[in-house]
């Protein structure tokens, strides 16, 4: 019989073997961020989820050493903190892009050809679902429903919803974001000189 959980199985096998022993170091800035948050919010281990939120907001993801540092400060074991991180879809232990693309694959978007959105993304920046561009500018996920069915097909770029997407609209959007990033970088370099 064909399997209904092929995906889960693959994901699980990958997860079991893919975790490298990470470097244990956490940057002083990240430690300062954690300590500042915990200092402003006295309490116990119930602060785990908010502090994870705060740190992911800043770093874009939660590296294992950071999870461990947070656990130590909250007096819980690292595996307990990781249990929470791994439970919530929102948290990620792998880096995401500066622009996180979430393409809606809910029913309405699906029938309005959400696949074309994915294809356009792949054609423009060569990104597959679950991937991150080399420059960490973009990462791509598909999600179930954004609750914006009237705008189908839709996707989110970070916290911003873009609707009625066509292949061209997607390409222009992504090229615009890339140009913006390039400008910013150039400006940053100019400042530095």
């Amino acid at each position: 019989m064909s399997t209904g959980n092929e995906l889960a199985r693959d994901a699980a096998t990958v997860e079991t073997h893919a975790v490298d022993q990470p470097d244990d170091s956490v940057s002083p800035a990240t430690l300062a961020l954690i300590d500042a948050y915990l200092g402003d919010h006295p309490g116990g281990a119930e602060r785990l989820i908010p502090v994870l939120h705060r740190v992911q907001e800043e770093l874009g993801y939660l590296p294992h050493p950071v999870i461990k540092a947070i656990a130590e400060r909250l007096g819980i074991s690292p595996i307990q903190a990781y249990g929470v991180v791994s439970f919530y879809h929102f948290f990620t232990t792998v880096p995401r892009g500066r622009y996180q693309l979430k393409v809606c694959m809910g029913t309405a978007c699906f029938v309005r050809n959400a696949n074309s959105v994915l294809e356009s993304i792949r054609d423009t920046i060569g990104l597959e679902v679950g991937g991150v561009t080399k420059d960490r500018l973009f990462s791509l996920e598909q999600v179930r429903c954004l609750g914006a069915c009237g705008l189908a097909p839709a996707m989110m770029v970070n916290s911003e919803v873009h609707g009625h997407l066509t292949r061209t609209a997607v390409r222009k959007l992504l090229q615009g974001l890339r140009a913006k990033a390039r400008q910013k970088r150039a400006a940053g370099e100019a400042d530095g000189e």
């Binding site: 889960a8 199985r9 699980a12 595996i79 249990g83």
Partner: protein, 828 residues
């Protein structure tokens, strides 16, 4: 007690308020199926097998384990929809469970199998494939098979809630959820094995216990653990006594509530160590040769008789590992048949704290608190050592106590798992617990303007009070190794206590005088007005299983049976160290050593070498061939405690039965039988049967009434240790506590004894890295150890295992009561 009325399967029943439905139903004798419930843990509601139907208007099924029993509830536990729900739930569990019952080692002893038999669920399995995950064999002693795991999470919750370790957790969600360690590494834990005991299926197993023998053909014997004085009840499953196939404890066991430690669970392979003796040895022509029991006993009886007839001193050195009965017979034998007062329990830790500590100050050589008191105490002061190193059950009780809100005050050099739970941790210098208590006493007495009524009633309280002066925190804090403010905070906590239990850990190599600490602990209770209050007291944790029992049996030169004073006119005999000193001086005609290895395991300063050399006739009685045995004239092999019937008295003063759970090699006798046989050959009959039992029962009776408090003037404070060296904290280290554990391959695999833990700062200063071989020297002796750098070790101290076989840093010790300063350097 408030009760509520509920209806169960049509019958109205009254149950205590505040229970869950599951608890309430169990009290009515109604059992519900469950895979995830454990009465010791917070309700979880994970397996959904305990669902019951409500018939009081609220539709639907509720999980009984996490639903409170409320007045007016009507419950149906056996309705068709309840059974159908359980069957479907089992189906969902089986969906991701590798079913290989015919070859599974838990077959016949599997909760899941039992329930599938009862409810079905396997006949139309859902169309999903198993999520494949490899078996994890990377940890010593415990194998994890995630494909069999049903995610009841009992292991995860016990590891956190009961053990306070949380080495494992559930990660992921849905079909991806699994139990694992941080970064999927090997287990880094205390190896208590509670997780394996709690696993309802075969997801967690112990390969060393693996056997093809099906569950229904195994024998199970419940006895008392013989590794330390906690007195844990354990059940040994075996193939008729030959080899242990499982060591566990049930959740209702007392005092441990199902908990065991690495030693009690895994240490039993020591019994089959190559050093284990099966036949007596007699020295002939300078060599030890095997002899029959008859020959060996004849030589022993003749040797003792000759010494007695020549009027030479005969001395026996026993051990706290003897059963109460054997210890009693031994002291009667020595005192009556050999007419010698020189009988002791060796230098085993805990005896001094009981006899010279508790006995001196309160008149009875017993603890005044129990392990059960820890469950209710408001404040707990932990002295001399982390019970996690010495007495693992006590540690778990402290974890539970701290989680329910008890105030934990730790006063020992190195923090450990308890530290995050503690209200205060005073990282005192090794061996300074007594100075800390005197300092706290000085502070209390000064704050209150007097020592209080209890102490003022005692003789010599003025001298005692004066003796406290040099311990004023401002002056003595440096000696103790903490700040005066820290002592002040400790006193704040103590003064706020309405009940206080003080634990005094003992163990070979823990520096400092244990008797002094026990005495000051009692004085502290007196100064706080808590002496004799129910729920407050001092709990002396003896190192070996029967420390309290052998003291009550009278195996001490200063005491008779029952811990009572010697008969008027009789002089106390020699202590063990005096015995050896006399033997070294050639004053001992016959030396009878039972369950001790003075040559291999005692402090070098005692001079066991010359003692064994110069005693005219040396008999060693031991399960193993020890260093002392190798130098003896006769060696008599005996059973270990787990192969023996009898009784031991735990640190809590409770006398517990031990039963033969494993078969001794070659039908060996127990210590008592050998003593009785030697006595018989000397024409002396020792009590047996009901007579013996009556005498032991009388000796173990709790004392009637208490005598007054006897104060001991504080000693003059010593000098702080000289700078430069590193102060050594020796002693047991969770997996090891002496010669038995050091013969267990399983426990040696968990921790090698030849290791010294250094503070990062000291390691850096001395240029020592992890894994380096370092040289420790003190008093002209030196040892080589492997260095580990551990950030929990305070600067200026180092921690090392005593090494019960005389190896390791123990060889540096000349006087165990004094803290030891060693020079440490890289091996050149």
């Amino acid at each position: 007690m408030d009760t509520v009325l509920i209806t169960v399967n049509g019958q109205p029943v009254e149950v205590p308020a505040g229970l869950t439905l599951l608890e309430a139903l169990r009290r009515q004798g109604v059992e519900l199926p469950t895979l995830c419930h454990d009465a010791r843990l917070t309700p979880y509601g994970g397996c959904r097998l305990c669902v019951v139907a409500r018939r009081d208007g609220r539709p639907g099924l509720v999980p009984a384990c996490s639903t409170p029993a409320l007045a007016g509830m009507k419950i149906d536990t056996e309705a068709p929809e309840v059974h159908e729900a359980r069957r479907r739930q089992l189906q969902l569990i089986l969906l991701n469970h590798r079913m290989e019952c015919p070859v599974c080692e838990r077959t016949g002893d599997c909760r899941l199998q039992d329930l599938v038999f009862e409810y079905g669920g396997d006949e139309d399995r859902l169309p999903f494939d198993l999520v494949r995950r490899p078996r994890d064999e990377s940890s010593p002693l415990i194998v994890r098979d995630p494909e069999k795991c049903i995610l009841c999470a009992k292991c995860v919750r016990l590891c956190d809630e009961a053990q306070g370790v949380a080495a494992i957790g559930v990660v992921g969600r849905g079909l991806e959820a699994r139990v694992t360690t941080w970064l999927d590494g090997p287990l880094e834990c205390e190896f208590c094995g509670q997780c394996v005991d709690a696993c309802p299926v075969a997801a967690l197993t112990i390969p060393s216990f693996a056997s093809a023998l099906p569950a229904w053909q195994r024998t199970a014997v419940t006895t008392t653990c013989s590794f330390c004085s906690c007195g844990c009840e354990l059940t040994v499953t075996s193939d008729g006594g030959e080899r242990p196939l499982g060591v566990g404890a049930t959740p209702d066991s007392v005092p441990n509530h199902g908990k065991l430690c690495a030693k009690g669970r895994f240490g039993w392979d020591a019994l089959r160590h190559p050093d284990r003796l099966t036949r007596p040895l007699v020295r002939r022509g300078g060599r030890l040769v095997e002899a029959s029991w008859d020959e060996a006993l004849a030589v022993v009886a003749a040797g003792f008789a000759a010494a007695r007839d020549r009027g030479e001193a005969i001395a026996a050195v026993g051990s706290t590992r003897l059963t109460t009965e054997d210890a009693y017979l031994l002291q009667r034998f020595v005192r009556e048949a050999l007419a010698s007062p020189h009988v002791s329990a060796g230098v085993d830790p805990g005896v001094e704290a009981l006899v010279a500590g508790m006995g001196e100050v309160l008149g009875a050589p017993r603890s005044t608190a129990t392990i059960a008191d820890l469950a209710a105490a408001g404040t707990i002061l932990v002295l001399r050592g982390d019970p996690g190193r010495t007495h693992p059950l006590v540690k778990t009780e402290l974890v539970t106590a701290a989680r329910r809100g008890a105030k934990l005050l730790l006063a020992h050099p190195s923090p450990a798992t308890l530290s995050p739970l503690a209200a205060q941790h005073l990282a005192i210098a090794p061996g300074r617990a007594e100075a800390l208590l005197l300092s706290a006493l000085e502070e209390i007495v000064r704050r209150r303007g007097g020592p209080g009524a209890t102490i003022e009633r005692a003789d010599g309280h003025e001298a005692w009070r004066l003796g406290l002066d040099p311990y004023r925190p401002a002056a003595a804090a440096a000696l103790v190794g903490v700040t005066p403010a820290a002592i002040g905070r400790l006193v704040d906590h103590l003064e706020a206590a309405d009940s206080l239990v003080i634990t005094v850990a003992t163990g070979r190599g823990i520096p400092g005088r244990e008797a002094g600490v026990a005495r000051r602990a009692v004085e502290l209770l007196a100064a706080l007005g808590l002496l004799g209050r129910p729920g407050s007291g001092v709990l002396v944790l003896g190192e070996k299983a029967n420390t309290q029992g052998v003291v009550l049996a009278g195996l001490d030169p200063r005491l008779g049976a029952g811990g009572r004073p010697l008969a008027p006119g009789s002089q106390p005999g020699w202590s063990a160290s005096e015995t050896l000193a006399r033997a070294a001086a050639g004053e001992v005609g016959a030396l009878y050593v039972l369950g001790q290895d003075p040559l291999g395991a005692w402090p070098a300063g005692i001079g066991a070498c010359r003692a064994v050399e110069n005693a005219r006739f040396v008999v060693v009685q031991d399960p193993f061939l020890t260093d002392t045995g190798r130098a003896a004239d006769v060696v008599l092999p005996v059973r270990c405690l787990v192969e023996r019937d009898g009784s031991v008295v735990g640190a809590d003063g409770v006398r517990r039965t031990i039963r033969q759970a494993l078969t001794p090699p070659a039908g060996l006798p127990g210590d008592g039988e050998v003593v009785r046989e030697i006595a018989a050959r000397l024409g002396h009959t020792l009590p047996a049967g009901a007579d013996l039992e009556a005498e032991i029962a009388r000796a173990c009776e709790p004392p009637r009434g208490t005598s007054g408090l006897r104060l001991t003037p504080p000693p003059a404070p010593g000098a702080p240790p000289a700078a430069g060296g590193v102060c050594l904290d020796l002693g047991p280290q969770l997996f090891h506590s002496g010669s038995t554990t050091l013969r267990s391959a399983a426990l040696l695999g968990l921790a090698a004894p030849e290791t010294v833990l250094l503070a990062p700062g000291d390691a850096q200063r001395l240029g020592i890295g992890r894994g380096d071989t370092v040289r420790l020297s003190a008093g002209g002796r030196e040892v080589l150890l492997r260095a580990e750098v551990d950030e929990t070790i305070p600067l200026g101290t180092a921690m090392a295992l005593w090494g019960g076989d005389g190896s390791g840093a123990g060889r540096l010790v000349s006087d165990p009561a004094r803290s030891l300063v060693a020079e440490i350097g890289r091996r050149s």
